[in-house]
């Protein structure tokens, strides 16, 4: 599972727990069950506003059972370990540090290439393309194991042609990397920004919004 999927699933779990707790308390506090004439099953929490949110009785209901405290401690420890792992997963580098290159004809030789060097080579190959002002390349792990993909953030000069950049990048630096590394495919993802010609033109134009309005 990719990091994006893990993040979204866990965010969804936390969101549903918060929503459920909030809706339960709101429904009890505003006495919605009685007002709407809803029948609640036995044991439903917070059916009327006249009971405490968490009474001492319900908090210590199982406190005398022998399994209660070990279960609480184990559950909390699981939550702590899980969130610590989740947090560390955000800080981890998202791509491999090195990749293994195929060495046909040379047995017993393992060739490793630092992905940082590959990214730098791609950057120097891209920044000389026409209309490119700045570029930064990162290599990421692909959707399946052992697959590499790259992401490049490119800033074009004013009036630059994005379609031409995509074509030049595909045939130029990206194609070179593919053939020199012996990779069958190297999926690339470009993020293109374009500079404006006259930054001073914005005030004269009466406050043209730099950020597009989202509707």
């Amino acid at each position: 599972m990719s990091r994006s999927t893990v993040n979204r699933v866990l965010l969804g779990v936390v969101a549903v727990l918060l929503l459920a707790a909030g809706v339960l308390v709101l429904a009890g506090g505003l006495d919605l069950y009685a007002r709407l004439g809803l029948d609640v099953p036995d044991g439903w929490p917070l059916t009327s506003p006249d009971q405490p949110v968490v009474s001492a009785g319900s908090r210590t209901r199982w406190a005398d059972e022998s399994w209660w405290w070990p279960a609480v401690i184990a559950g909390l420890a699981l939550v702590v370990a899980g969130t610590a792992w989740w947090l560390l997963a955000q800080l981890r580098r998202s791509g491999p540090a090195t990749i293994v290159l195929p060495t046909p004809g040379a047995s017993g030789l393992r060739l490793r290439l630092r992905t940082r060097a590959l990214a730098e080579a791609l950057e120097t190959g891209t920044v000389v393309l026409p209309e490119v002002e700045r570029v930064s390349v990162r290599l990421l792990r692909g959707p399946r194991r052992q697959r590499l993909r790259l992401r490049a953030v490119v800033r074009l000069t004013p009036g630059g042609d994005p379609a031409e950049l995509v074509e030049h990048f595909e045939t130029g630096p990206c194609g070179n990397a593919r053939s020199s590394l012996g990779l069958a495919d190297l999926p690339a993802e470009l993020r293109i920004r374009v500079q404006t010609a006259k930054p001073a033109a914005a005030p004269r134009g009466g406050g043209r919004r730099r950020r597009p309005r989202v509707e």
Partner: protein
């Protein structure tokens, strides 16, 4: 996301719109939200775990935990602070659920892929391209470009011919090769110096179905130049009214 079919329809007699291409939308990894939520959950769970273990090993419970347990046991759900807390929990949960489900990265518009390379362009960058292409044309005094994920709204003031401006903008948009072409909406108004405005199309023309919007768009260009010439002939008093009508039409159409 609605189907790209309306964008793929050729505009009635003007020039064929570029075809829309199905490209998967970029999805944000939601790293920042994940870090914040993980830190919050970690802090609460670690504090609880520490305190529970402390109590089980014979120490006294921390005061905060005793206070929280006491408040929960004495306050009722119709208490103001309990209701406020529940409302905040519902809002926060809804927002986190939105973050979990929505794709995010709304500022990036995907371009047509080329081979193994997929690309996306900054929405502001498209605005810069359009602005730079048109800003130098003669007769444009004031130019406003707004872009959302589906359409570009251009409002310009000045004696320039709106049809030629629209042609330029259309050519620039075609050069960008967006996977899902943006609809172009040009509204022109005469400069303040001449004192006359041009009424926009009736709101229904742009609010209707996409093909009707296309018709309204081309009709608007014709109307703009025609009424503009009439405005030059007519008197000043009438021109002021026309300006107000133009403003009203513009806001009505944009809403």
């Amino acid at each position: 996301m609605t189907g790209p079919a309306p964008d793929a329809l050729p505009a009635g007699g003007v020039e064929p719109e570029p075809m829309a291409v199905k490209v998967p939308r970029l999805r944000s990894p939601r790293t920042v939200a994940a870090v914040l939520v993980a830190v919050a959950v970690l802090l609460v769970a670690a504090a609880l775990l520490y305190d529970v273990i402390a109590v089980r090993t014979g120490h006294a419970a921390r005061r905060w935990r005793a206070e929280v347990a006491d408040e929960l046991a004495t306050r009722h759900p119709d208490d103001f602070w309990v209701l406020l807390g529940a409302g905040v929990a519902v809002l926060l949960g809804g927002w986190l659920l939105w973050l979990a489900l929505a794709p995010g990265l709304r500022r990036w518009l995907p371009l047509r892929p080329h081979g193994g390379t997929s690309a996306a362009i900054d929405r502001t960058g498209v605005g810069h391209l359009l602005h730079d292409r048109v800003a130098g044309l003669p007769g444009i005094e004031h130019l406003t470009i707004r872009i959302n994920r589906r359409r570009v709204k251009v409002a310009l003031t000045g004696p320039a011919d709106p049809a030629s401006v629209q042609r330029q903008l259309r050519a620039e948009l075609a050069r960008v090769t967006l996977a899902r072409p943006l609809r172009l909406d040009v509204r022109a108004k005469r400069g303040r110096g001449e004192g006359d405005g041009v009424p926009g199309p009736p709101p229904e023309a742009t609010k209707g179905a996409p093909p009707a919007g296309q018709v309204g768009e081309t009709g608007q260009v014709g109307g703009v130049s025609g009424v503009g010439q009439a405005g030059e002939v007519s008197g000043v008093g009438e021109a002021g009214e026309a300006g107000e009508a133009g403003e009203a039409g513009k806001t009505g159409g944009a809403g």
